[in-house]
């Protein structure tokens, strides 16, 4: 049913392309401009470069679940529409909708990928499984003077950095098909049903007040499926008979079963933000009280039994266990600041957060394999970013045809203020025994040959864990005067390192990405 819905959606979009010449407009205007449509269709493919990875036949341990190195081939589409009901001097009323769909073709040509997956995971991986998956955003927007009220499903961006989500705390991520920085927020963020209100004051600093109330909708953080491109390696020993799930999938599905009901007043989320401008600094201050997106608290007794039973005896059932994973409430305060200085011609961006009583698990030596209790941590995080336009001799003039390179460099550090060596902080990239985690990120972009080509480099490095990532990619923009107007082709590569370093082994840090070195091939049609 879902597949037919997807096909229908695709056909409708194709019909729109054919019916409306798109030579002069990037969007489609219908009903005398009352309805505006735009979106994209995209095919994303990754070719794994790891020839000796144990997920392949050449590996050892009986864990192979791949026949092909093309282990990610996703066809996705996104369409957004804005319908204006009323727009006059007095007020504006509009409806905005963003809808997405996808079809993951990998299991079609590599049956081992599909066969190794848990059936429920496989369904969700291949195509939208629920209505909520299709609706990225859907809200009614009402503007009257200084007031603006948006009611419905929305994606809220409170951060200002490229990939880091330091002050960006509202919407949970969905990393099953992509990651921030490579894919759009519409694809990697889950909308939340909420009432969002803005008030533009006339106070000094042009203060803009924002208030958000989510009356009880819950969506959890979605990690990639086990055995898929972005997910952890398939961990289903063939000598453990009758296991439907891999081990990670076994745990993750228990997360979902233990998460709060989709609608419940106890799930309420509440918060707000003030934006202002003082002394040449654009700043924001925010506060957010919500349930965790991912469980940070476990029922230790149940968890030990639940994890242990996977490796022995007959197939365990979820119904055999009480709640294992708990989603606790906590409060975040934070803020952002941006300014420009003539010194070094730099745009400076700063973001910070303070998580008060953030739930964490306790395990011996901070190891999640040895859980024994739960705790609360107060965590302070700060990121500082510099942004420069750079004139590179010869390159800017000849290759860039006058376009300067853009460079962002970000330093991030977070510290647990009430640190205990048994706090399990591996998922936050902490090294065992350390009360802080650091990272450096780099974003570099150079348009070339009158912007027909663009080189983008994204990289990051965790100095304490020696983990790193490097993603160079080239984009070619097809000419609008030819038959391929609107098409963009991306060719790139993803490299990861440090996943096998001893600190990661000590910490049981997932080395999922360390095995994912890949070529990137992507074709997009944007309208």
């Amino acid at each position: 049913m879902v597949r037919s819905l997807f096909c229908t959606l695709t056909l409708v979009m194709l019909a729109l392309f054919l019916a409306i010449p798109a030579t002069s407009h990037a969007e489609i205007d219908l009903m005398d401009g009352k309805l505006i449509l735009s979106g994209f269709v995209k095919s994303t493919n990754y070719y794994r470069l790891n020839g000796y990875d144990r997920e392949f036949k050449t590996g050892t341990g009986g864990l192979d679940n791949h026949k092909s190195h093309w282990d990610f081939s996703n066809f996705s589409a996104y369409i957004e529409g804005l319908y204006t009901i009323k727009d006059d001097q007095e007020s504006t009323i509009r409806i905005f909708g963003g809808f997405k769909a996808w079809y993951m073709a990998t299991p079609d040509y590599d049956s081992e990928v599909g066969d190794s997956m848990y059936s429920k995971d496989r369904r969700g991986y291949r195509a939208p499984d629920e209505f909520d998956d299709l609706v990225s955003e859907l809200y009614l927007d009402y503007i009257n003077g200084p007031w603006q009220v948006r009611t419905g499903k929305q994606i809220v961006i409170w951060g200002q950095l490229d990939m880091s989500r330091v002050a960006d705390v509202v919407n949970p991520l969905d990393l099953r098909w992509g990651v921030p920085g490579i894919d759009t927020w519409e694809e990697v963020k889950q909308g939340l049903w909420m009432i969002r209100t803005f008030y533009q004051s006339q106070l000094p600093g042009n203060l803009l007040f924002e208030f958000i109330l989510n009356p009880g909708y819950f969506a959890s953080f979605k990690l990639p499926y086990e055995g898929t491109h972005w997910g952890s390696e398939s961990f289903k020993y063939k000598n453990i008979a009758n296991r439907e799930n891999g081990f990670f999938s076994w745990m993750q599905n228990k997360w979902f079963k233990d998460e709060p009901q989709t609608w419940d007043l106890d799930n309420y989320e509440i918060g707000g933000r003030v934006q202002g401008y003082t002394w040449n600094i654009d700043w924001t201050f925010l506060i957010w009280n919500a349930l965790q997106d991912a469980p940070g608290n476990v029922n230790v007794t149940e968890a030990v039994a639940f994890n242990g039973d996977y490796f022995m005896g007959p197939q365990p059932k979820y119904s055999d266990y009480d709640t294992v994973y708990r989603y606790k409430r906590y409060t975040t305060i934070g803020g952002t600041a941006q300014t420009f200085t003539n010194f070094l011609n730099t745009v400076w961006r700063l973001e910070w957060f303070y998580e008060n009583d953030s739930p964490v698990c306790l395990g011996l030596g901070g190891n999640t394999s040895n859980l024994y209790d739960n705790d609360r941590a107060d965590i302070l995080g700060i990121a500082l970013q510099g942004n420069w336009n750079i004139e590179i001799p010869w390159v800017t003039r000849v290759i860039g045809t006058g376009k300067q390179a853009s460079l962002n460099f970000t330093y991030f550090r977070e510290t647990v203020l009430n640190y205990d060596k048994d706090m399990c902080l591996v998922d936050r990239n902490y090294r065992q025994g350390k009360d802080n985690a650091e990272s450096y990120s780099l974003f570099f972009m150079q348009q070339m040959f009158n912007a027909s080509w663009t080189l983008v480099f994204i990289g990051n490095y965790y100095p304490q864990l020696h983990k790193w990532m490097a993603v160079p990619s080239f984009t070619y923009v097809f000419a609008d005067s030819g038959h391929f107007s609107g098409l963009r082709a991306d060719l790139g590569a993803k490299f990861y390192g440090g996943g096998k370093h001893k600190y990661n082994r000590e910490n049981m840090v997932s080395n999922a990405y360390a095995q994912k070195r890949s070529l990137i091939l992507r074709l997009r049609y944007e309208f």
Binding site: Q200, L208, G402, D480
Partner: protein, 424 residues
Amino acid sequence: MKTNAFKTLAVCICTAAIFMATPAAAQEMQKAYTDAELAKVREWEKTWAGKKIDKTNVDQVAQFMSEPFVEIIKDPVKWGAPPEGYFFTIRPYEFIPETPGFIAASKANAGKAKLAADGSIENLAELAGRLFMDPGEDAMKMAWNFEMQNRGDAYSYRKYSPNVNPKNMSERLADQQYHELYFVNRTELDPKPILPKNKKGYRRGMFLHMYMPAEFINTRMYTLRYIDQKKEDDSYLWYSQFRRIRRMNTSQRTDAIDGTDLIYDDEYLWDGQLTRNTYTYKGKKELLTDRHDGLALTTRVAGQGFTNNMSFERCNLLVVEAVNKDPNYLYGKRVWYLDPETYYIMTTDIYDQQGRYWKMFFNSTLPMRSEIGTMKPVIVSTHFYDVQRTHSGLASSQAVNPPIVSDTSVSADMFTTSYLQKTY
């Protein structure tokens, strides 16, 4: 006898007093030609008006064209021409009046500008209209006359901009909606000459909503320029794909605008604080310019570096050389060809730091009926040529929607970060 002499003296004194008290009243807006000059132009037009100019006869009017322009017409294949080549027609010269509000403000403010040695104007916020109705040979005054052209206080236009590679006749498109607002120096829309509640001292705001390239759809940006001529602009971008407000680096004005041959300083053929250049008057030059017809009747297919069937008229332009005070500035110099009637830069020649000819841009202007019913000349298109790289571009404000002059829907509220974040 004594009585008559007294009366005569009194009349003379009164006349002198009136003359001194109202110096502006005696001044008129400049015209491109004196009557004698115009008579010669009319003679020439008897031969040429209505004639089609192409590569076969362009040499006969080449004295009224810049050298690169002649080359484009003569070597059309190099610049992506269709089989019929490139051509334009000659139309008769016609005077372009300013709006009554602009003329009144010019007269009321004549002689009031306090021009400092560094080229700045101390009392800029209080003034409006053409500050120097007779700039003589003072290039700085001419530059200020250009700067005070307010395009009807609020100007909205949809800029459809093919970025052309004539070598393979391919092009990539940009499509952007612009809204411009003058906070001061206003002559058309009330309140004049200053908008109230302008504590931060903004002079001009420019709002931009992008539709193409497609990856920038619904990305929005605004830039605010200050009355303080030593202050850098403030600029903010709402990048729709990442949904973030980014403060922009506004000091590097020599960065190319995505894929085009323009740098940020090149909008309107100069878009920066005026005091960053030194100016030298180089006399007058008659050139063929497009001042009355715009692109409404033109023909162009994708990949063309020049638009066919434009109409050009002779106009006696003021030549001003602008050299940036920064010795490391990207361009060695610009040469402006200013229309003395509108003070738009009709054509500019741009040289690199080695003194080699690099770029030629020219504007098309058109008197348009504003929302308050007056006729106001505005820029409706610009052609761009990089002759070193053989690359070109066009910005047309007539391709999608007609521009709106003195657009009353443009307000100061648009130049806020909260407006950037609104659903488009």
